[in-house]
């Protein structure tokens, strides 16, 4: 497999370039930031990802953090945590390929390759709204779930190709809508607005 070359922002030196082999499950990537006075401490990021896009997303997070030098240290730490979480969820979706039909004893289908791919794409958009869990859907597919202060939302990528989203406060009739792949960011925003309101 071709290794991905991770490069930092323009202020970086060649020392900031590292090669990450996609086959490494626990690839350690080190970034040395720009010279003083903008220099931050060396940050170490453990990337739990095998897929190039997940690794790319982590790099993108770091790039955006590096664009605000004043808060760089804190932002890198927060974004790194969020990136690690997304990467771990990505891997959890990947692991669902080992599920068999009737994995829950209720006759559910295992998530298809298609459903897993769509779920992984949506995870990469979930930069501002961290999912609480990702699960194989009992309906056949992958569920990306969010919850906060008693409120719940999810985006469900079904094996049928449909993507459905819901929000619920647990008391009233839940809202349900269909999501087009190109609209997943809008669905995430709607869920985020609901569970944080």
């Amino acid at each position: 497999m071709t290794p991905a070359i991770l490069r930092e922002s323009a202020s970086s030196t060649d020392k900031n370039t590292r090669v990450v082999d996609h086959d490494e499950l626990f690839s350690e990537v080190q970034f040395v930031t720009a010279p003083a006075p903008l220099r931050a401490d060396k940050a170490t990021f453990v990337v739990f990802a095998t897929a190039a896009r997940a690794v790319g997303w982590v790099v993108e997070s770091i790039r955006s953090a590096a664009s605000s030098p004043k808060e760089r240290h804190i932002e890198i730490s927060q974004q790194s945590r969020s990136a690690r979480r997304i990467a771990a969820l990505w891997e959890a979706v990947d692991d669902m390929r080992s599920l068999h039909a009737d994995w829950n004893g209720y006759g559910s289908e295992a998530p298809s390759d298609f459903a897993r791919d769509i779920a992984k794409q949506i995870l990469l958009s979930a930069t501002g709204l961290e999912p609480s869990r990702v699960v194989p859907s009992a309906q056949g597919g992958v569920g990306i779930c969010f919850s906060h202060k008693g409120k719940y939302g999810d985006i469900e990528c079904l094996n049928t190709g449909e993507i459905l989203a819901t929000t619920s406060d647990g008391t009233n009739i839940p809202e349900v809508w269909e999501v087009k792949p190109s609209e997943s960011k809008g669905a995430l925003e709607r869920i985020g607005h609901f569970i944080n309101s």
């Binding site: 006759g107 609480s132 309906q139 569920g143 469900e156 079904l158 449909e162 819901t166 647990g170 839940p174």
Partner: protein, 158 residues
């Protein structure tokens, strides 16, 4: 004869020549299993399958019995419960179609004998429907998930 590989399989789950009982009182509990819960200690629509949502009847089983299916595959899963009255009686799709929901007693013999097994089924114009509107299904699943509560540990005795 107990048709199960589980030693000391619960006697109450065996059919033993009993017929169907289609009387579901509103206070009867229904049990469902799930592999994990969120921070609220609840499940979501993604954890519920429909149509023909399988449950165990509280009238004929204990909560833990829902984990005995394909023993010991699900023994570490969570058990959730809801009352018969919590199952929505009707939902309407965007195009105005009305879906009614009914409980049907469906004892099973495979993979393990289970007299307590029941299913929540949907009717459209009084006719059973295997495929519903995906949106109605989703709404139905979320309503069930919202109304299910985790069975407390002290009630999980065999």
């Amino acid at each position: 004869m107990a048709t199960s590989s589980i030693p000391d399989y619960p006697e109450e789950l065996l059919i033993n020549g009993r017929g169907l009982d289609e009387t579901f009182e509103p206070d009867e509990l229904l049990f469902y299993r799930a592999p994990n819960l969120d921070e609220r200690g609840k499940i979501g629509s993604v954890d519920v399958i429909c149509p023909n949502t399988s449950v165990n009847r509280g009238k004929y089983s204990k909560p833990i019995h829902v984990l005995y299916c394909s023993f010991p595959k699900f023994i570490n899963w969570f058990v959730l419960e809801l009352h018969v009255r919590d199952v929505p009686t009707e939902l309407q799709s965007g195009d105005g179609k009305r879906f009614q929901f009914i409980l049907v007693h469906v004892p099973v013999t495979h993979p393990d004998e289970n007299y307590a097994h029941a299913e929540i089924r949907a009717l459209v114009d009084q006719q059973p429907k295997k495929k519903w509107s995906a949106m109605v299904e989703k709404q139905f699943r979320q309503i069930l998930a919202d109304r299910m509560q985790l069975v407390p540990r002290e009630r999980m005795n065999p």
